[in-house]
């Protein structure tokens, strides 16, 4: 049995290094996942456009955007979710796409249900988001919420975010395209998105 270090760990985690520009050698169209939810998954359909920008507002291309989300009932397709709710088999909950020349990528999914948060308070519908790009040393973890959802006002995680910055986590409905939402991720600069230490 190895002794625990000062940090309480037996082993120190391997450090992060940047994903660099060339990850699509392996993570590419043949194994990226646009459909977080297959067409027959339960729930309200959502087409989600994500666009990534740098400090100067320039689009960030060749960036990996990963999404993890719960199904329409608020259940994750994972053994650590022991809620008594059912898995919806056409719904995997995972997606990853690479941004194009406009810094944008698209996902097909459904509106997630609510999942419990700290002290049992229900969280508002949200997606977990990971952003990986060259010039970023480690995972940027953020969330996407849906603007106008009444549950946002009572989400215990959103409550941890200063009011003035909450809008940076909100996807906005696209006018004239029902079910289509757009979300901007600003890595830095005046509109910097809220990123989390997970």
């Amino acid at each position: 049995m190895r002794a625990k270090s000062k940090t309480g760990r037996v082993l120190e985690p391997t450090p992060w290094c940047t994903v660099g520009p060339y990850f699509s050698v392996t993570v590419n169209d043949s194994n990226s996942v646009r459909a977080i939810a297959a067409p027959d998954a339960k729930g309200e359909r959502v087409k989600l456009i994500c666009a990534v920008f740098d400090r100067d507002g320039k689009p960030v291309t060749d960036t990996l955007v990963e999404i993890w989300q719960a199904n329409a009932d608020g259940k994750y397709n994972h053994p650590a979710d022991r809620q008594e709710k059912s898995i919806d088999s056409p719904f995997r909950g995972f997606g990853r796409q690479i941004t194009d020349e406009n810094g944008a990528c698209e996902f097909e999914t459904i509106m997630p249900g609510r999942v419990p948060g700290p002290r049992g308070a229900l969280q508002a519908p949200h997606l977990e988001v990971g952003v990986f790009t060259r010039g970023v040393l480690k995972l940027l973890a953020t969330r996407i919420y849906f603007s106008g959802d009444a549950a946002n006002a009572e989400c215990p995680v959103l409550a941890l975010v200063p009011k003035t910055r909450r809008a940076t986590l909100m996807a906005l409905p696209v006018a004239g395209q029902p079910g289509t939402w757009r979300h901007e991720i600003h890595l830095s600069g005046p509109k910097e998105t809220v990123f989390f230490d997970v």
């Binding site: 037996v10 120190e12 060339y22 400090r55 650590a80 809620q83 999942v115 977990e128 995680v157 830095s188």
Partner: protein, 218 residues
Amino acid sequence: MYPPYRLTLTRAPRKPLIVLPHTLSEVTGPVFGHGDIREADNDLTRQHEGEPIGERITVSGKVLDDNGRPVPNTLIEVWQCNSAGRYRHRIDQHHAPLDPNFSGGGRTLTDAQGNYRFVTIKPGPYPWENHPNAWRPAHIHFSLYGTAFATRLVTQMYFPGDPLLPFCPIFNSIPDPKGRERVISKFELNRTEPGWSLGFRFDIVVRGREATPFEGKK
């Protein structure tokens, strides 16, 4: 942000991260299986009709969590340049030849004891535009999902004794010297395959579950 790595200046967030207590959303994550892997995905020397040019190596090791427990059935994805230092990628303009027999991408799942193994060729060093006369040491990129959204890891594996390591701002962006040591693989004679390939060991530690999520039970 790490100014010697220039691109971090316009891309690294400046505001403090907000600490997120782990909820079900962070302690769950995508699960992968054998359906996600194809034959020869872990042998980068067998993905084309001929064999790639270069020094044949195996890279193998164990994936553990920070409690020292093996992480079984987790997806590992790797990518690398060829032995001349060129990636098969549209934005790599390095004046070095592509190898028709080398794509540079691999995938595998760890076994029940957390072990993995790739067969490949040793990647070459290559110049990049960060600063005058900047060179990347030979490296292989690794991406792992671990068991949850919060255990995701993307890193780079380096080779022991590489003279370019002290000059590389990406390698040096790891603040702790002990951390930098942990991304350098070890040459192990007992991992060589006599008459065939040299063996490098690279053990990877992902974060374990730190918090028990509140699951809303009464």
